[in-house]
């Protein structure tokens, strides 16, 4: 079950953070930040492979003791990083990737809204709801 989902923009700062439970957010921030390097590394390593329809899914970035970190990069260098509880080892990459694709779709829907400037927090509730559902459903 995903404990944290973060959307990180091109400039490598978090655009949207959602974590359950909330009090560990700081820890998640640092974990995600350090894992950004891994994302970039994997992307450059993957090269031109894996340019599939829906975006780059490097998948598992790094397993820590408590969590596994999964990453995903969109075409415009927006990264989604998620931390998943290590206890749920049954996750396969595909599942994670499909979760990321849903996230991405929702994110693009959000981006279509011209009113909030890019860089503002993602306020829309639809996105929130979707993220919550993803987080609880990914088990």
């Amino acid at each position: 079950m995903a404990v944290c989902i973060m959307v990180i923009v091109k400039e490598n700062y978090p655009f949207y953070v959602r974590s359950i439970p909330v009090e560990n957010e700081l820890k998640f921030h640092s974990v995600v930040h350090t894992s950004l390097d891994l994302v970039d590394e994997k992307i450059s390593a993957m090269g031109k492979a894996l340019v599939d329809q829906r975006g780059l899914c490097p998948g598992l970035l790094y397993p820590t003791e408590d969590y596994k970190v999964y990453g995903y990069v969109t075409n415009s260098k927006v990264k989604f990083v998620t931390l998943v509880d290590s206890s749920n080892t049954a996750h396969r990459d595909n599942e994670i990737c499909s979760m990321f694709w849903k996230l991405h779709n929702s994110y693009t829907d959000v981006t279509c809204n011209p009113f909030p400037n890019p860089g503002d927090r993602i306020r829309p509730r639809v996105f929130d709801n979707m993220v919550t559902s993803l987080m609880t459903q990914v088990c």
């Binding site: 329809q53 075409n75 981006t111 279509c112 011209p114 829309p124 509730r125």
Partner: protein
């Protein structure tokens, strides 16, 4: 209690009907409550008897009278007449008389004692927040000024149906101008501070808005005992309409029992919205792009989060642009919000695009304006593209490698011809010009350069240029794809592309109005994506070219410098040689 009028003061308390009785006594109680701890309410007789003990404090009374919105002079007259001046205080009798006089004046009768002898409607008092006076006529609803009303319904007649208008009037909403004034007072809306900023928007059709303002007023007409209202009759007609819808709503929350009512768009409103739409976008069957809509709605002076929420609600297909029904829905929500309605959680059914389309079918829509539609569509596509970059890039990854290679020629073509306009206009244009323009840019020959940097930059340039089209997607893997097959295949593909595009541009026109997702949209996003990618690619290419130019210019100057030095050395050496030679020759 009618007979109670007897004795008392010289003005002789008028015959009070029961409703009047009730109202007056409540008012009296209110006014006197603070002062004297409450007079004996209800019966003028008892109050009269105890008139010495019960007086209405001058302060609240004065406030109340002011709330009746009569001119000060009239109020003075009334005060005199009712005897308060004489006796020095507002006893219940005086109070009732005064109220009756106020009612008389509001009904247009002169300020005379005789006026109060006849049957009169209840006096009407403007709500003021401070007083918490209820709009008269329904003491039962006096339940508190605290009831927040999302007052002004600027909404046109739909708000006649909108229930909730609780009476609560806030003083800042002068549209609820005194009922005493005829309902049809259009300019009132001008005074509405909320819509003031918006009135700019509506400059052309402002007359439409006063209508709803008036329509609003009757809403406030409370039901119930306020029966005796001849003065309110015209309002009542409207009110009765509303009442049937809004009876129980008046005291309730906005969106509970008649969820649709505030959100229903009337014909007038619709006309207005359509006009506004047209002012932004001449073709009623096409879109307003996000940025255009943003500018427009920002004028309404709502906060950005609210606007974004409204957008979120109204852009049903999440495509970054508003079709006419979406636009109407958004506009409607904005107007509602400006009138104080809280925004709904979800798009109300009456605002759904399908509903709107069905309810108000515009003949122009479905008819084959698709011709112009498809023309305007590329424009729209482009505008929308700018907003949809993410989306199209998501959806089109599969198509990505193929179009990218085609894109180059189009990029340059589009770049050169219409840098600032909507690029896709060029997209369907003839391939001939494209082919002409295409070869030069990538054909920068790598010059054999002495310096390392030059070589490097030169090498970079072609690959950069080749990569530029793919830049749009900013996907590094794709970049490497492109250079390989690009040069040879470009001319061929360009010829194919227009065919594709003309086919595609027809296809998307049918799918645009529907939700833009799924395979059917693929050709459409392809075109969009291409044009957006083109633009980005072009810009990137420009940037890179400029950088390369700068580098090369620098190198050039350095080399020139070196050349000069070398020349000088050479001359010096030759001189030395000549000097030396005769010696050896000798």
């Amino acid at each position: 209690m009618e007979a109670a009028a007897g004795g008392g003061c010289g003005s002789g308390p008028p015959l009070l009907s029961e409703s009047e009785q009730q109202c007056y006594s409540e008012l009296f109680a209110r006014c006197a409550g603070a002062a004297s701890g409450g007079p004996g309410p209800g019966h003028p007789e008892t109050s009269r008897v105890a008139s010495g003990a019960a007086t209405a404090a001058a302060g609240p009374v004065a406030d109340l009278f002011r709330a009746s919105q009569l001119p000060a002079e009239t109020l003075h007259q009334i005060t005199e007449l009712c005897g308060a001046k004489r006796v020095g205080y507002f006893g219940p009798t005086q109070f009732y008389v005064a109220l009756k006089l106020i009612a008389a004046v509001q009904s247009g009768l002169p300020v005379r004692i005789e006026s109060i002898k006849c049957e009169l409607p209840l006096p009407r008092f403007m709500m003021s927040k401070n007083d918490g006076e209820m709009r008269f006529g329904n003491p039962a609803e006096l339940h508190g000024s605290k009831v927040q009303i999302p007052y002004l319904t600027t909404e046109k007649n739909s708000f006649k149906r909108t229930d909730d208008e609780e009476k609560q009037q806030e003083t800042q909403s002068p549209t609820m101008s005194p009922f005493a004034s005829p309902p049809s007072s259009p300019p009132h809306y001008q005074r509405v501070p909320l819509s003031h900023g918006y009135s700019k928007l509506r400059s052309s059709t402002e007359q439409m808005h006063p209508v709803p303002y008036e329509g609003r007023q009757p809403l406030v007409q409370p039901e119930g005992p306020s029966s005796g209202g001849p003065g309110t009759k015209p309002l009542r007609h409207q009110a009765s309409l509303i009442r049937s819808f809004s009876v129980e709503r008046e005291l309730q929350d906005n969106s509970s029992s008649y969820p649709d009512e505030p959100w229903r768009i009337t014909e007038e409103q619709r006309e207005y919205y359509v006009n506004q739409f047209r002012s932004l976008q001449p073709d009623p069957s096409s879109f307003i792009s996000g940025s255009v809509a943003k500018n427009f709605f920002t004028k309404s002076k709502l906060s950005i989060p609210e606007l974004s929420y409204i957008w979120e609600l109204s852009d049903a297909d999440c495509d970054g642009a508003l079709t006419l029904p979406e636009f109407c829905a958004a506009f409607h929500l904005i107007v509602a919000r400006k009138n104080g309605y809280p925004l709904p959680e979800g798009l109300p059914p009456t605002l759904q695009p399908e509903y709107l389309q069905a309810a108000f079918p515009k003949p122009k829509w479905d008819c084959a304006l698709f011709d112009s539609y498809s023309e305007s569509m590329p424009t729209n596509q482009q505008a929308r593209d700018l907003n949809r970059m993410e989306k199209t890039s998501v959806k089109d990854m599969a198509d990505f490698p193929v179009p990218t290679q085609d894109v180059t020629g189009d990029d340059k073509q589009a770049l050169k011809s219409t840098l600032n306009e909507a690029v896709p206009k060029d997209v369907p244009e003839d391939p001939a010009t494209k082919s002409g323009l295409l070869p030069p840019p990538p054909a920068l020959p790598p010059r054999p350069c002495p310096s390392q940097s030059e070589q490097v930059s030169e090498a970079e340039l072609p690959s950069q240029l080749n990569r530029a089209p793919s830049q749009a997607a900013e996907s590094s893997p794709a970049k490497k794809d492109v250079p390989h097959s690009q040069p040879p295949s470009k001319p061929i593909r360009r010829k194919f592309r227009p065919e594709n595009q003309s086919a595609e541009s027809q296809e998307p026109s049918t799918t645009i109005s529907g939700p833009a997702s799924g395979a059917s949209v693929k050709p459409h996003p392809t075109v969009q994506k291409q044009s957006s990618k083109q633009k980005k690619a072009i810009q990137t290419a420009i940037r890179k070219n400029k950088e390369a130019n700068a580098v090369l210019a620098r190198l050039n100057s350095e080399l020139q410098q070196q050349l000069k030095e070398v020349h000088q050395e050479r001359i010096a050496l030759e001189n030395q040689l000549e000097q030396l030679r005769p010696v050896t020759v000798l």
